[in-house]
């Protein structure tokens, strides 16, 4: 399986944003807490100040009362006034005691209390002085109270600011972080969708794998993955393979066949082989594969049954063809043997007939009448003709066999040679030769020599009735891939309706008492030309001469006649 699209880690900015928000909230909380503590402390101090003030007022009242009782005693001598003065004096001392405790943390108030102690203890109290000190102490407390109120207000103001600023920035951070998170998760979702889509794609490639299967196995030879349409065709299934070892999933002989290749793949060596399975033929490719850091093996199988069948068919056809070739070769060899036999055994009796007739003629010439001598001549002529037929047939047969030699052949020099060889037949004849410039061709020189020799010898033969024969050899116009040679004579010609018969074996258009011949010459010409990949045709009118055409490929290719 291909590795998934890499998931991006949560963006660092999201983390930073979240941490910053939390820090801000902690700061806000801490500040609010501190502010609450400060407020509570302040309230306590306010109460404390009020207590101090209240005691100061009481003290002031007590001292005024003591003084006024004393004055009343002094004026009236009323003892009751003295007692009341004592009572107020005790209350004043008690208040002083409390004030001393309450203002223990304030050195200035303690000093003032010391002064009050002294003033109160004096026999004649200086009430104004006492009042002045008390007022100083009251002022001091009022100042302290104002100070504390101011502090508290400042602290509250700051806390409000912290909360407002912190709240706004925390809100902004949370909003930004949320946006980032949304974007991140959106991206993730898209990536996961893509991942799922691609996984589905890969899975469908494997499960739809045509004509075969794809398998993955681990080092225990346990199938990790098995997919492909070919599984069902041989009665296997994904469920029957995945998670099972080869020995659990497959027949023993198949395991024996595939195990070495599987082991090789695990050792890093790929193998390809063919194996029959479930009545079909499979090409199996086993190769090493590293998946998820684990060395595994991958098997790809392809159903090659059709190809195998086709190959078998080709093999069968080849064998058949080979058999035919063997038969044809043997037939050809038989033909060779037959030709040899004809050549040797058939010619010998003909030769004997001819030889002994000749000896008979010499020996008994005087004893035989004219008719008997004519009969002997007929026998001699017939045996000669038979010999000629055999020789021509053998030559014709040889033209169809054997390899064609390849070479540059000068049609001009072949023509000159052929004319030279015809000299003996030209005795007493008047023949005008018109030989044009002739091209070179590619072909078998010996065979093409026979072509020209046969065509020219025909021309000489069939112009015999002409007092003045004209034979022309030239090159005719033709398609660019052909070289067309013609041999034209002013001889007896022939009827065009027989033109095609001319090139057949033993086909003759004239009686042998008019023109001797075996009817093989033009058949040999056609066979040779066909073997060179060319063609032959003729054009003639009765008593108007004949023209024979030979077209040879400009680049000769061998063709079977």
């Amino acid at each position: 399986m291909p590795s998934a699209v890499p998931l991006r880690p949560l963006s660092a900015w999201i983390v930073v944003g979240l941490v910053a928000s939390v820090v801000i909230l902690i700061v806000i909380g801490a500040d609010s807490y501190r502010s609450a503590i400060a407020t509570a402390e302040n309230a306590r101090w306010v109460a404390h100040t009020h207590e101090v003030v209240s005691h100061l007022w009481n003290l002031s009242t007590d001292i005024v009362t003591v003084e006024s009782r004393r004055r009343a005693h002094a004026l009236t001598g009323d003892e009751e006034q003295v007692e009341r003065a004592h009572a107020s004096g005790a209350s004043a001392r008690e208040n002083l005691q409390r004030l001393r405790r309450l203002t223990a943390d304030n050195a200035r108030q303690q000093q003032r209390l010391d002064r009050l102690d002294g003033l109160v203890a004096a026999r004649v109290a200086d009430v104004d002085e006492i009042r002045t000190v008390i007022r100083e102490m009251l002022d001091e407390e009022a100042t302290l109270l104002a100070q504390r109120d101011a502090d508290t207000a400042a602290s509250l103001r700051r806390t409000k600011q912290v909360i407002a600023l912190g709240g706004v920035s925390a809100g902004a951070l949370v909003a930004a972080t949320s946006f980032l998170f949304y974007r991140e998760s959106h991206h993730r979702q898209r990536a996961e969708t893509e991942l799922r889509r691609r996984e589905a794609l890969y899975r469908s490639i494997f499960s739809q794998f045509p004509n075969g299967a794809v398998l993955l196995f681990d080092r225990d030879l346990r199938y990790r993955l098995a997919e492909g349409r070919g599984l069902a065709e041989v009665g296997l299934s994904k469920a029957g393979l995945e998670g099972r070892t080869i020995w659990e999933a497959l027949p023993a002989e198949t395991c024996a066949a595939i195990e070495p290749a599987y082991r090789d793949a695990l050792a890093g060596q790929a193998t390809s082989f063919e194996v029959p399975f479930g009545g079909r033929h499979y090409a199996v490719h086993v190769s090493p594969l590293v998946a998820g850091g684990e060395a595994m093996g991958m098997v790809v199988t392809l159903d090659i049954s059709e190809r195998k069948r086709a190959e078998d068919e080709v093999r069968r056809l080849n064998a058949e063809l080979y058999q035919r070739i063997v038969e044809a070769t043997s037939a050809n060899q038989e033909l060779e043997a037959f030709s040899y036999s004809v050549s040797h055994d058939l010619r010998a009796p003909i030769r004997h007939i001819n030889g002994f007739v000749d000896m008979l003629q010499r020996r008994a010439a005087g004893a035989l009448d004219e008719t008997a001598q004519r009969h002997l001549q007929t026998i001699a002529r017939a045996s000669r003709h038979m010999g000629q037929l055999i020789d021509d047939l053998l030559a014709f047969s040889r033209m169809g066999r054997g390899e064609l030699a390849r070479g540059r052949v000068s049609l001009g020099s072949l023509t000159r040679d052929a004319i030279e060889n015809l000299r003996p037949e030209l005795d007493g004849r008047s023949v005008e030769w018109k030989v044009d410039d002739l091209p070179d061709v590619t072909g078998d020189p010996a065979m093409l020599r026979i072509v020209l020799s046969n065509l020219l010898s025909n021309a000489v033969k069939y112009t015999r009735p002409q007092p003045r024969a004209v034979i022309q050899v030239g090159q005719a116009a033709g398609p660019p891939d052909e070289i067309v040679l013609f041999v034209k004579d002013n001889g007896v010609g022939f009827e065009m309706k027989y033109a095609d018969k001319l090139f057949g074996v033993f086909q003759r258009l004239h009686r042998s008492d008019q023109f001797e011949g075996t009817g093989i010459g033009l058949a040999t010409v056609r066979r040779i030309v066909h073997r060179h990949g060319g063609r032959t045709w003729a054009d003639a009118t009765v008593d108007g001469g004949a023209t024979f055409y030979v077209a040879l490929p400009a680049r000769a290719e061998e063709e079977e006649a």
């Binding site: 010619r347 002994f356 007739v357 000749d358």
Partner: protein, 151 residues
């Protein structure tokens, strides 16, 4: 008359023997012809063994060999003659019905001195044999060891 020289003719067909002798006789060479009827006899003659062990010494001036003979064919006789140091100088002429190219090629490969296809027409056959006889038996100077008969 010039020295007459012995000709060895190996030919299995009696008609061919008669025709050949007839042709040679026209030039008075017939009496110098030894006829063997197969390749084995021809070799016996050349090696003076079997029926020929008592024959006089000396090699023929020319051997006329038919190609196709019983027992040992003409090509085999040719091969043995040309492989034998004592015989290889004897001129050998293949005188045969066969026009087969294979035979022609094989004969020359084995060292034949001439290869003649017997013509069907007797007059031409006579001419061919005459020319052979005259050339090899009369004109050609035979190698040492050939039989010469005085006049």
């Amino acid at each position: 008359m010039t020295d007459l020289k012995r000709i060895l003719l190996a030919e299995d067909n009696e008609h061919d023997v008669e025709l050949t002798l007839s042709a040679l006789s026209e030039y008075r060479l017939a009496n110098e012809v030894v006829v063997t009827r197969d390749g084995a006899e021809a070799l016996d003659y050349l090696y003076r063994r079997g029926a020929f062990r008592l024959r006089e010494e000396g090699n023929p001036v020319v051997v006329l060999l038919d190609l196709k003979m019983p027992k040992v064919d003409g090509l085999e006789v040719l091969r043995q003659i040309k492989q034998d140091g004592a015989l290889r100088q004897i001129p050998v002429v293949m005188l045969t019905s066969s026009r087969e190219e294979n035979d022609l090629v094989e004969s020359y490969r084995l060292g034949v001195n001439a290869y003649v296809v017997k013509p069907v027409e007797f007059s031409r056959f006579v001419q061919a044999v005459r020319e052979l006889g005259v050339f090899w038996a009369v004109i050609n100077e035979a190698p040492p060891g050939s039989v010469r008969k005085g006049p």
